[in-house]
Amino acid sequence: MNADERHWLVRPENIRLLWRIFIAVLAVVVVAELPLHGESHFGIDDWFSFHAVYGFVTCVGMILFAKLLGMFLKRRDTYYDD
């Protein structure tokens, strides 16, 4: 199958384009917070781009924690059939 026959969404040049759009959108939602002032309940929840950092860091943390837990609790998927 040559590149032209593939769906436009899976062609490498378009995937690169999608990444650029995604990064631009990320930048926009961070910058959009500049003129806004939310109610602060905990001191740091209205820090600039707190939600962006918190969302990224906690998700990386959850993936790593799941990976760690998987080392102990993962079994092949026929485990209960044997």
Partner: protein
């Protein structure tokens, strides 16, 4: 008359007629009964119009207020869309069981007393087990047995609790359960079993994905959300529920991240979402309770939509593992779009139903200054996007090309997805009608600029984490051990070891007694047997000899 008719009974009685109906009559029953039920749900005025006596207690089989009407409404909608989705593909057994199951759930949310609630509670367990079994596979049979075992156990705990509670208070009315004692805690435990709370979380991802494509859709809606309803009614503001809910929210994410089966991913995510609701109930302010109730309403719709799209993939390909799927967006565009709308709604993306409901719970935690709860809820909001919002559509519809090119599913399945996809967006764009039927007056504005921007930051950066760590997310042919290991692996192993030990002991004992018996018998035989010293016969001559000896001795003694 119509104002006091128990709305749940319409579906239960109609389910009994379904096996007799054919063709158009069958379609009319499956689609018409939920509509009739919805009309009845809204025809009942506030209050308890029916009364009955049972063992000297005053029962109210029907009681209506905003909360029961809210759940009755979404259950009727669910029965309709689920019936449409199942109409051409599901067996009559499954449809009958599903309608009776939906009717029992509606009966439970309109039950005015604990006894009626218990009856419908048990009917739900039976109906849902039948829905699982009607998939007809051996794995479904085994999973259904485990499912029923857990739910009947939960039912027994609930019954003991109800008896203890009514005995202590003398009043079976089901309102907030304030009388502290054993009964209250046992009722709470019975309710939590159905919510999928720890430690008995595993029944849900174990059983639901074994049902048919439509069966899983029905199952996702009623049992856990009836549990949310009874917790809202009986235990608002119960602090324990905050911790239980936060645990469930995190548990669902971590296990879903490790899972490979697409419908098990979505099952874990049910526990995660119910965790948000349970936390809201534990917080207990009007905003939090409204959030929990409205989130249950929105959740039923988007979760059913997600499972409809996953069920469509399973129906069209016969495959259910992420490792076997991928690239399906090319030939199943409708399923991809509907599944993605469901995924955005569950992630609480702005303009979808999840955003206008879930953020109420998070805001309630912030307003109460529950620091730990708020930070966990916000992290879990990001985590939902990770495990359900991106992971499910990415691995099923995109990622590598599996080479599969199945078409979109049949018409009735597509129409059901259209209805729920429409509702996910409609509620998100215009939440006022939903807010109007919540139990408390709503003074909440989801669409402030700060809310929208921070939510987008949270979700999009969670998405960034997903794609940057994609190599870590690749699926493997594995499952993750859970609490069910205790009754699926440890229990049988202990039972096997116990049988072996017993067999060994029995063999040892029987060998020992046989040996001892043989020894004792041999000793007796030696002395008393046919040839034994004490039993053998003696010749006459020897007796004469001994008599002669005795007489001689007598003579000797006589002369001396």
């Amino acid at each position: 008359m119509i104002e006091s008719f128990p709305p749940g009974l319409v579906l239960i009685a109609g389910a009994a007629l379904l096996p007799l109906a054919r063709g158009r009559a069958r379609d009319l029953l499956v689609l018409g009964l939920p509509v009739l039920t919805l009309i009845l749900v809204w025809a009942i005025p506030d209050g308890a119009p029916l009364h009955a006596q049972f063992l000297g207690w005053e029962l109210s089989p029907v009681r209506a207020d905003a909360l029961s009407r809210l759940f009755g409404t979404v259950f009727s909608l669910m029965a309709f869309a689920g019936g449409l989705y199942a109409l051409r593909q599901a067996s009559t057994l499954e449809l009958t069981a599903a309608l009776a199951y939906a009717g029992s759930a509606i009966g439970a949310v309109f039950a005015g007393d604990l006894v009626t609630l218990f009856v419908f509670w048990e009917l739900m367990a039976i109906g849902s087990a039948l829905v699982i079994w009607s998939a007809g596979t051996s794995t479904a049979y085994a999973a259904g047995m485990r499912y029923l075992g857990i739910h009947l156990l939960g039912g027994v705990v609930l019954m003991i609790g109800v008896i203890a509670y009514v005995h202590a208070t003398g009043n079976p009315t089901f309102d907030e359960l304030t009388h502290d004692g054993m009964g209250r805690w046992l009722i709470l435990a019975g309710f939590l079993v159905n919510a999928g709370a720890p430690p008995l979380t595993a029944w849900l991802p174990d059983a639901y994905p074994e049902a048919s494509p439509s069966g899983t859709v029905f199952l996702s809606a009623f049992t856990t959300k009836t549990a949310v309803y009874v917790l809202l009614r009986g235990f608002p503001g119960e602090t324990v529920l905050v911790f239980v809910g936060l645990y469930m929210a995190c548990y669902g994410i971590i296990y879903a991240l490790l899972e490979n089966d697409m419908r098990r991913i979505l099952s874990y995510s049910i526990i995660n979402q119910v965790g948000f609701m349970v936390t809201g109930i534990g917080i207990g302010t009007p905003l939090a309770l409204n959030g929990a109730a409205s989130h249950a309403f929105a959740h039923i719709i988007y979760k059913a939509l997600l499972l409809m799209s996953a069920g469509s993939v399973f129906h069209q390909t016969g495959k259910r593992k992420c490792t076997d799927l991928g690239g399906l967006f090319q030939s199943m565009p409708i399923t991809t779009i509907c599944g993605t709308i469901g995924a955005l709604a569950i992630s609480a993306f702005p303009l979808t139903s999840g955003f206008v409901t879930k953020t109420m719970i998070n805001s309630a935690a912030a307003e109460q200054h529950l620091t730990i709860a708020w930070f966990i809820l916000v992290a879990a909001t990001a985590g939902v996007f990770l495990h359900a919002g991106i992971k499910f559509p990415w691995f099923v519809f995109f990622q590598k090309d599996s080479g599969l090119r199945p078409p979109d599913p049949p018409r009735n399945m597509r129409y059901a997805m259209y209805i729920f996809a429409f509702l996910c967006i409609a509620i998100g764009l215009y939440p006022a009608p939903l807010y109007a039927i919540l139990p408390f007056p709503v003074d909440y504005h989801a669409y402030t600029a700060f809310h929208v921007v921070t939510e987008l930051q949270l979700l999009l950066f969670a998405g960034l984490a997903f794609f940057l760590m994609l190599p870590w997310m690749q699926r493997t042919l594995t499952i993750t051990l859970d609490f069910d290991w205790f009754y699926r692996a440890l229990g049988p192993r202990l039972a096997y070891a116990g049988t072996r030990a017993w067999d060994g002991t029995a063999a040892f004992l029987s060998r020992g007694t046989r040996k001892a018996g043989r020894g004792a018998f041999g000793w007796i035989q030696r002395h008393h047997g046919v040839h034994g010293v004490l039993a053998r016969s003696w010749p006459t001559g020897s007796m004469v000899l001994w008599v002669g000896v005795l007489l001689a001795a007598y003579l000797v003694f006589y002369y001396v």
